[in-house]
C-alpha cells in the first residue's frame, strides 16, 4: 500500500454547515468547545473542513470525504456535536473521519464510503481497499449491533434466531436513546500505512476473551473479529472495549 503524507501539518480544522444543522450561536459554542473555528463554503480557507449536517445520506457522506471536506459530524437532535473531537483530531493529522448516529450509520454504509475515499485521497490500492472496507464493515457492525444496540450475537445460530435478530434490530433502531448513540470512524495516515479506528458508545466489548477464541469454519457467528485479525496488519483495542484500532 502506498500513502501520501502532507509535507506540512495542516492548519487547524474548521466546521462548515450545510443543510439542516445547529443554529449559528450553538454551532459557535460547540466549535469553541472543540477548539476549532467555523468556516463557510463561500470564503476560501486552507483549513481542513468538517461538514456538520443533519441530512446525512450516502451522497452527503461521500461529499464530506471529498476535498476540501475531510469528515462529517452529525449533530444530536439538540444540536450538540457529540464525539466530534476524534474526527477533528483525524482531520488535523491529514486523515478523514465521521461521527454518526447509529440510525444513520445503519443506512449510510460508512465502510464503503471510507474505503473509497482512501483510494482517491491516499492512493490505497484495490486489494487494500477491499481489506479496509471489509474490516471497517465488521468493526462498524460490531459497534452498532453488539455495542450501541446491545444485541447478543448468540441469536444468529438458527433460521429462527436470524428472524428474531432481524426483528430485534428493527425494534432497537426504533428506540430513540439507542438510535442516537454514536459510531465514530476515523482513518489517519501513519507514514507507512493507515490506521482506522472505530468507536461506539456501548457497554464495551470483551476483545481479550474473544481474541483468544479460535473461529471454527462452521461457526455461524463470531467471525467478524477473526476476519479483521486476518486482514489487518495489527489490531488493538481501547476505551474499555469501545474502540478498535486497525492498522493497514
Amino acid at each position: 500500500m502506498t500513502t501520501t503524507r502532507p509535507t506540512d501539518a495542516p492548519p487547524p480544522a474548521a466546521l462548515v454547515v450545510a443543510g439542516a444543522g445547529p443554529d449559528r450561536a450553538l454551532l459557535a459554542r460547540e466549535a469553541a468547545g472543540l477548539g476549532v473555528g467555523v468556516a463557510s463554503f463561500e470564503a476560501p480557507t486552507d483549513s481542513p473542513l468538517i461538514l456538520v449536517t443533519s441530512e446525512v445520506d450516502v451522497p452527503a457522506l461521500w461529499e464530506s470525504l471529498t476535498p476540501p471536506l475531510c469528515g462529517l459530524i452529525e449533530p444530536d437532535d439538540d444540536g450538540r456535536l457529540t464525539l466530534g473531537a476524534p474526527v477533528i483530531a483525524a482531520a488535523q493529522r491529514g486523515g478523514i473521519g465521521m461521527s454518526l448516529t447509529t440510525k444513520t450509520a445503519y443506512r449510510a454504509v460508512p465502510a464503503e464510503q471510507l474505503a473509497a475515499a482512501l483510494v482517491s485521497r491516499q492512493g490505497v490500492g484495490t486489494d487494500a481497499e477491499w481489506k479496509i472496507e471489509l474490516a471497517v464493515q465488521e468493526a462498524v457492525t460490531n459497534g452498532l449491533i453488539h455495542g450501541n444496540l446491545g444485541i447478543d450475537s448468540g441469536l444468529r445460530r438458527s433460521l429462527c434466531g436470524m428472524k428474531a435478530f432481524g426483528q430485534l434490530l428493527t425494534d432497537r433502531l426504533a428506540e430513540p436513546r439507542l438510535a442516537a448513540r454514536r459510531i465514530v470512524v476515523v482513518a489517519v495516515p501513519t507514514g507507512d500505512g493507515i490506521e482506522v479506528t472505530v468507536t461506539d458508545e456501548g457497554a464495551g466489548f470483551d476483545f481479550a476473551a474473544r481474541m483468544e477464541q479460535p473461529v471454527e469454519r462452521e461457526a455461524t457467528s463470531g467471525r467478524g473479529l477473526g476476519i479483521i485479525r486476518k486482514i489487518a496488519r495489527s489490531v488493538r483495542y481501547g476505551d474499555g472495549g469501545r474502540s478498535l484500532h486497525m492498522l493497514f
Binding site: V58, P59, L61, W62, E63, Y106, R107, A108, V109, E112, Q113, A116, V119, S120, W130, E133, L134, Q137, E138, T141, I145, R156, R157, S158, L159, G161, M162, K163, F165, G166, L169, V215, R217, E218, A219, T220, S221, R223, G224, G226, I227, K230, I231
Partner: protein, 232 residues
C-alpha cells in the same frame, strides 16, 4: 407503490406511482420476470408518478435492466421527476439505463449492467434477490449488490418464499454480489444447515473475485459446496 401495465403497439408500459422502496420487492419481481421472459420486446418504465426511490429500488431496477439485456429486450425509463433526476445522475445510473432526459448509454460496453457501487457517486446498493429456476429446473436465488447484516432479513424471507421442496438442489448464485460481510456468510451457513434438515441441498454458485477470496479466507468454501457455471 402502485404498478400498472399497458400494452400498445407491442410496447409494454409499466407505470410507477408513489414511493419505490425495498417494501416493493415482491410486487416488482413479476416485472423482472416479465422483462426476462419476452425476447426482442420494448418496455417503457413510466416514472411520471414516482416520488421517491431508495437504493434497494435502484438495485431492483438494475436487475430488471440486466435481465432484459440478457433476454434481448430494451427498457426505456421516461417521465423521471427532477428530484429523482438528481439521484440518477449521482449514482451514474443514467449511463447504464436508457433514461429520457439523461445521458444515454454510449457504447455496447457502457450498456452492460454496472456494479451497484459507484465510488464517484458514493452510491450504496443493498442486496437484491430474485428467485429463478436454473438450467436444470431447480430453484435458485440470484443475489446482487451488497450483502451485509442489514440484508439478512431480506435474504431469509427470499429463501422462505422460494420454498424449495425436499430432495431439490437450491443454488444461491453470488455472481452479482459485490461485497459481503461475516454476518452474510453466517446467514448462508445457517440457511444451509436449515435446508439440510429439510432434505434440500443448498449450494453456492459463481462467487467472483473478492467474494471468492472471502469464502477462502473464512474457509466457508470448505463447508458449503460451490458450483461454477462454466459459461460465467
Amino acid at each position: 407503490m402502485e404498478l400498472k401495465h399497458f400494452i400498445h403497439d407491442g410496447v409494454v408500459t409499466v407505470s410507477f406511482t408513489g414511493r419505490f422502496t425495498s417494501r416493493d420487492n415482491d410486487d416488482f419481481l413479476p416485472v423482472i420476470a416479465d422483462v426476462a421472459a419476452r425476447g426482442g420486446r420494448h418496455f417503457v418504465f413510466d416514472f411520471a408518478g414516482l416520488e421517491y426511490m431508495d437504493s434497494f429500488a435502484l438495485g431492483l431496477l438494475l436487475l430488471a435492466h440486466e435481465e432484459a439485456t440478457k433476454a434481448g429486450n430494451a427498457i426505456r425509463v421516461r417521465g423521471v421527476q427532477p428530484a429523482l433526476h438528481h439521484m440518477f445522475e449521482l449514482t451514474g445510473m443514467g449511463k447504464v439505463l436508457d433514461i429520457e432526459g439523461l445521458d444515454t448509454p454510449q457504447s455496447p460496453q457502457s450498456n452492460q449492467p454496472r456494479p451497484f457501487r459507484s465510488h464517484a457517486a458514493g452510491a450504496a446498493g443493498r442486496l437484491a434477490a430474485i428467485a429463478v429456476l436454473d438450467g436444470r429446473g431447480e430453484p435458485a436465488l440470484r443475489l446482487s449488490g451488497r450483502f451485509t447484516f442489514a440484508d439478512i432479513d431480506d435474504f431469509t424471507h427470499s429463501l422462505e418464499r422460494l420454498a424449495a421442496p425436499s430432495g431439490s438442489r437450491l443454488t444461491i448464485d453470488l455472481e452479482g454480489v459485490e461485497f459481503m460481510d461475516s454476518a452474510a456468510l453466517s446467514s448462508i451457513l445457517i440457511a444451509r444447515e436449515d435446508s439440510l434438515t429439510r432434505g434440500v441441498d443448498l449450494r453456492l454458485a459463481n462467487p467472483r473475485g473478492r467474494i471468492r477470496q472471502l469464502l477462502e479466507l473464512t474457509h466457508v468454501g470448505e463447508v458449503v459446496p460451490i458450483d461454477d457455471d462454466p459459461s460465467h
